[in-house]
C-alpha cells in the first residue's frame, strides 16, 4: 500500500517522529509516545546533574531497544558547537544519526543556514547520518542534499508555535525537487496540521510540543498517529479535483413527474 520509510539506510515503521521534551511527567511522556506509534524519538544532549536534583537520563524511561534515539543539537548557535554536540551524542553508542540544528536567532529559533551547511558538511565527512532542520528555502534544501544529508527537515512554522503549515507550496516544491527524504519538523499544532502536511507528499513529520502541550497528550498522540496515516494515504490515493461549481452526488435521471 505504501513504500517503506527509510532514512540513512534504516527503515522505520512510522512516518511520525516524536520529541521527548516538555511533557508534564515521564509517565505521560511514555504513554503519549506509545500512542503515537513512533519508533524514532528525539533526545537532547545535556550535562549530567551531579547533585541529582534534575531528572536525569531519559534512558530511565525509554527503552533504547524499543525506540530509535535520534539525538539533536538543539540550543547550538554555531557550526562548531553543533558538531561538538553531535560527536558527544554519537559517543553514547546508539547510532550515528543526528538531527542537526544550528539556530540563528533566539526569538524565532530559525536555522542559520550558513552554519547549518558548514556543520552538515563536517558531520557527513565524519560519517554521520545528518537529518538537517532547515527553513522553507528550496535552495538551502538542495545544498543540504548536495552536502550529503540523509534527510532534509524543513519547518512547518516556528518551533513550538503550533501555527501549522504556513507555506505548503514551498514544502511541496522541496519534496518535488529533492531525492533524499523530506521530513517536516516543527510548527505542527494539531491533527489537521499533520494531515495536510503529509498530503503535500513529504516522507514524514517530527513533532513535540503539539503532543506534549495538548490538554491530553496521550489522546493527542493517538490523534497524530491517525492524522499522519490519513494524510499519507490521502496523498497516495490522489484527491478529487476542486471545482467552483457544485456537482450532484445523486443521479439527475429517474426523477418522478
Amino acid at each position: 500500500m505504501d513504500t517503506p520509510f527509510a532514512v540513512g539506510g534504516r527503515t522505520f515503521r512510522s512516518r511520525l517522529m516524536i520529541g521527548t521534551g516538555k511533557y508534564r511527567d515521564n509517565e505521560t511522556m511514555v504513554r503519549a509516545i506509545e500512542a503515537t506509534g513512533a519508533d524514532v524519538v528525539t533526545v537532547a544532549v545535556r550535562r549530567v546533574d551531579l547533585d541529582r536534583t534534575a531528572d536525569g537520563s531519559i534512558l530511565k524511561h525509554l527503552d533504547p531497544k524499543r525506540f530509535f534515539l535520534l539525538a539533536n543539537t538543539a540550543g547550538c548557535y554555531t557550526a562548531d558547537e553543533a558538531v561538538r554536540y553531535a560527536r558527544l551524542a554519537r559517543e553514547a553508542g546508539f547510532n550515528d544519526f543526528v538531527k542537526l540544528e544550528v539556530i540563528g536567532d533566539q526569538e524565532t529559533l530559525l536555522p542559520d543556514v550558513a552554519g547549518l551547511l558548514e556543520a552538515a558538511r563536517t558531520l557527513v565527512t565524519e560519517g554521520f547520518k545528518v537529518l538537517a532542520y532547515t527553513n522553507e528555502d528550496l535552495i538551502t534544501a538542495l545544498r543540504l542534499e548536495e552536502a550529503g544529508c540523509a534527510a532534509v527537515m524543513p519547518l512547518a512554522s516556528p518551533i513550538g508555535s503550533g501555527l501549522g503549515l504556513l507555506n505548503p507550496m514551498s514544502v511541496r516544491t522541496i519534496k518535488r525537487r529533492l531525492q533524499v527524504p523530506v521530513i517536516v519538523d516543527a510548527g505542527v499544532g494539531t491533527a489537521s496540521d499533520a494531515c495536510v502536511t503529509m498530503e503535500q507528499g513529504v516522507d514524514g513529520i517530527l513533532m513535540n510540543t503539539a503532543v506534549a502541550a495538548a490538554r491530553d497528550p496521550v489522546q493527542m498522540g493517538h490523534a497524530m498517529r491517525l492524522a499522519v496515516e490519513a494524510g499519507r494515504f490521502a496523498y497516495l490515493a490522489g484527491r478529487m479535483p476542486k471545482r467552483e461549481v457544485a456537482v450532484p452526488s445523486s443521479p439527475t435521471e429517474g426523477m418522478l413527474d
Partner: protein, 66 residues
C-alpha cells in the same frame, strides 16, 4: 586537587582516573559521555585517563528534547 566539572570547580582525589571519578559520583559509565579537556574519552579508556589539576571535564547524557 581542583578541577572543573560541568562548569563548576570541584575538589577530587589527586591522580584519580575518569572511571574512578564516575564511580565517586555514582554515575553509570554506560549512561554518560565524558569530554576531558575538550577531547571525548571513549568508554574503554575511561580507566586509563588520569585527571590533572585544572582539568576541565564535561559529563553529558541524553535528556528529553524535541
Amino acid at each position: 586537587m581542583e578541577i572543573v566539572v560541568n562548569g563548576e570547580p570541584r575538589t577530587v582525589a589527586g591522580g584519580a582516573t575518569l572511571l574512578e571519578l564516575l564511580q565517586t559520583w555514582a554515575l553509570d559509565p554506560r549512561a554518560v559521555v565524558v569530554e576531558h579537556n575538550r577531547r571525548i574519552v571513549r568508554r574503554p579508556s575511561l580507566g586509563d585517563v588520569h585527571v590533572e589539576p585544572g582539568d576541565t571535564i564535561e559529563l553529558v547524557q541524553f535528556v528529553g528534547g524535541g
